[in-house]
Symmetry: C14
Subunit: 81 residues, 14 copies
């Protein structure tokens, strides 16, 4: 027989899958855009490669944040809740 | 037997997953656009790298806000409610 | 046994998740567009950086508004209703 | 037991979430377009910054209107109905 | 027990949410396009700012109309029907 | 108990919401395109502003027609049927 | 008790809403494209405004046809069937 | 009680709505593309307006065909079947 | 009581609606692309209008084929099966 | 009473509709792209019209193949299975 | 009464329809892109028509492969399984 | 009566259809992009046709891999499992 | 009678199909972009064909990784779990 | 009989499939963008191939992260939970 605690657990697992699956689309694409433009810029101006790589990493790190939020929510749904 | 409190909890977990998963798409993409244009601009005008990095971070911080709202709503659905 | 008040609460939680999750897509992308163009413009015309940053922040603030509306509706669905 | 009034209330809450969540996509993106072009224009023609900021705000205000309609419908679904 | 009148009311509320939520996407985006092009045009030709603002407002007003239709249908579903 | 007449009325209300909500996407975007190009054209050729405004309004009026059809169907679903 | 005739009527109303709602997307967008290009063309070549307006109206009228088909099907689903 | 003939009729009505609603998207957009390019071409080369209008109408007529197929299927689902 | 033959018939009608509705999207758009480019080409090179019209019609006829397949399947689902 | 053979037949009909409806989107659009580029190329280089028409037809024929596969599967689902 | 073997057969038929319908979208579009670029290239460089036609056919043949995989899976679902 | 082994088999068949149908979209489009650019490059630089054809085939082969993975999973779902 | 172990197995098979089907879209398209740009670059700069082919393969290999993750998860769902 | 532990396991498997399937779309596309731009840049500036390859790999590694998060969540759903 299905108890309420089982339904809660099941929906938490489904929610974790959706949170991480959907939450990886935006940052994955956004970071790709940053990296693409950084490669283009370094190709044109290789003397500033260090500066551009740093900018790329900072820009990607901020974009990564929403992906990490999704990871946190998914992990919380798996273990803590 | 499934009690009402179980249904509430289950829907809160599913709602948390959707809120964070969908809510990461917009900011993740938007911040990627900002970072991409910042890399492009620094590649063309490296003398203004500091100014451009600051602008990028400010622009991304505002875009990040809706992602943080989603995180807040998801956390509230997990713990407080 | 599931009471009506439980169904109401469950649908309020699901509605809150959808409101914030979907409501973060538009402003997140829109603010990213504003920030991207601001970085591009500052890269071309760094002497007007202050003016452009102000314009960017004003433009993003208006775009942010619908995200805040979503946050308000989601919080109302969680706590007040 | 679920009464009819509970079903009404539940669907009102779900409807409010959908109205605000979907209703934030259009204005959020549209206002971002306006702000992006305003930044671009000010970067090219900073002498007209005041005029362009006013135009941007007027254009965004009209675009904001449908977002406010969504907010109104969502609030009506939460409190008045 | 769920009466027929309750089902009618519930579907009216859900319909109102969908009508306003979906109905805000088109006008919100369309008005944003008009405003974006108006800012661009004023930036290039600031001497015609008054004429362009008027044109923008007229163009946005027509685009707004379908958003207002959605508002009307949503309000009718909430109060009159 | 749910009677058939209630089911009919409920599906009419849901259909009205979908008709108006979906039906506002196309005209809202299409009229925005017309208005955007009209602003652009007036900015380049302000001497023909009257002619262009008339053309814009005629073009938008035709595009508006499908939005009005949706309004008519939605109103028929609400009141006449 | 729900009779078969009620189910038929209900599905006819839902079908009418979908037919008109979805059927307004294509013509609304298509006519907007025609109108946008007509404004652009008149702005460049105002001496041919009459010819271009006629062409625009003819092109939009053909595009309108599928919208009218949708209206016809929706009206048939509401009244005749 | 719901008889099989009622289920058949109901699904025919729903199918008619979907056939016409979805079937109007493609031709509506496609004809709009043809009309848009025809306006553009006439604006550049008004001396060939008659030839271009004929070409536009022929091109639109072929594109219209799938819309008419949808209309035929929808009418068959409403009346003949 | 619903017999199996009724379920078959109902699903055939729904399938016919989906086949024609979805099947009109691709050819409708594709033929529009062909017609748009043909108008553009004739506007630039009106001396080859006959040749271009023939090419347009041949290209559209092939694109039409999948629309006709959809029509055939839909008619078979309505009458033969 | 619904027998298993009826369920099989019903799902075969629904599957045929989906196979043909979805399967017409890709080839319809793809062949339109080929035809559009062929018209463009013939307009620029009418002396190679025969060669280009042959290339267009070969390219469209390969793209048509997946549409024919869909037709085959749909026919098999209707008659053979 | 529905036996298990009937459910298996029914889901195999539905799966075949989805496999072929969805599986025709990618190759249909991809081959259209190849053909479109081949026509464009032959129009510019007709002396290499044979080489380009061979390249087009090779490129399309590889793209066709996933469509053939879909056909194989659909046929296996219809006959072998 | 439906046994568990039947449900397993049925879901395996549906899963195979989805795996192959969805899994053909990405490679089909991606390989088309490669082939399109290869035709364009050979048209401009026919002397390197052999090199470009090899590059195209290598690039397509890697893109094909995910399509083959989908085929493998679908075949495993049909026969081995 | 359906046992729990059957439901687990069935959902594992459906999950495997979705994981591989959806997971092939991103890498398939992404690798196609890499290959397309590599062909374009080799066409312009054939002297660096070896270098470009290596870069293409490295870039595709990283993009392939998420496709391989999907394959691993799908295989685990089929055999290990 | 289906126990609660079975429902939990089943939803965990479905969640794992969705997490990995959806989570591979963003990184797969994003890494493809990076690789595409890197190939383009190396083709133009082959002397900086080492630098550009390093930048590409760093940029792809960050974009890969959200794909790895999805893999982690999927593996946790399969084995640990």
């Amino acid at each position: 027989m299905i108890e309420g605690a089982d339904l809660i657990q099941a929906s938490a697992f489904l929610g974790a899958g959706l949170a991480m699956g959907l939450g990886a689309i935006g940052p994955g694409l956004g970071e790709g855009m940053v990296g693409a433009k950084a490669c283009e810029a370094i190709g044109k101006n290789p003397g500033e490669a260090g500066l551009l790589t740093r900018t790329m990493l900072v820009g990607q790190a901020v974009s990564e944040s929403t992906g990490i939020y999704s990871l946190v929510i998914a992990l919380l749904l798996l273990f803590v809740v």
